[in-house]
């Protein structure tokens, strides 16, 4: 197991927060933009290009690109079995933000889901972020 200095732990935590924040903000922007664009249901990717003229959609896509890059950066430092449950807190924040910002309804089943995910996030957050060896050549 790799020894983690407090600074390293702090960096991983900041990166985790960036992954969660960009996921939440990117999805909210995208959702807002797609509501303005209107319904598109098509098997052809080309029909979705029209949506790219909407500024909210453009901003959302740009932020989600940052999310993808920061997620890969986080996977370079932390275990997949740590990253998966911890970043699932984005689901909770998206649901709550959707409720307050976009007026989405939250049923009691969804509130229960929010509570259950939050317990899972807290449990995973208590484990060390990285348990595999630090040297790249020893990786599978």
């Amino acid at each position: 197991m790799k020894a983690q200095t407090p600074l390293e732990v702090h960096k991983t935590r900041m990166l985790t927060l960036l992954v969660i924040a960009t996921n939440v903000v990117g999805n909210i922007f995208l959702s807002r933009g797609m509501h303005q664009v209107g319904e598109i249901v098509s098997p052809s990717p080309l029909d979705y290009l029209d949506a790219l003229a909407n500024p909210w959609v453009i901003a959302g896509v740009c932020i989600l690109v940052i999310w993808m890059l920061s997620d890969l950066a986080l996977l370079s430092r932390a275990d997949l079995s740590f990253v998966l449950p911890v970043t699932a807190s984005a689901y909770v924040l998206i649901a709550i933000a959707g409720h307050f910002l976009l007026g989405d309804r939250i049923s009691w089943e969804r509130w229960l889901g929010i509570v259950i995910i939050t317990i899972g996030v807290i449990l995973a957050e208590e484990t060390p972020a990285r348990t595999t060896n630090g040297s790249p050549e020893k990786m599978p």
Partner: protein, 120 residues
Amino acid sequence: MKWILVGIIAICNTLGDVLNTAGMKRQGEVEDLRPQSLLRMAVRIFRNPLVMGGLLSLAVSFFALLSLLSIATVSFAVPATAVSYLLETLLAKYILKEDVRWRRWTAAVLVAGGVALLQW
């Protein structure tokens, strides 16, 4: 057809995340959060076959999801998401050799169940 798409989504999602993790661990740790560091990492990804394969796999999963949503309701995609969490934790333990104990297993099960409830 719906269940075939659910299977494709779950398998490609899992494969993508596992390949990305293996590839990024080989590439080495990203040391800080400066935009230059993320950009340098992004450029190196293009020469990293594991991560390129992982991203391709995630793209297939994404388009399978779009197709599924066009012929079924969102609740149909739930099993795929929930199964991915459990399958990925399993592969993280046995292929990526991560130290997965009861806390992480419980977390994975809770998140899988919670995500299913969220999309009820």
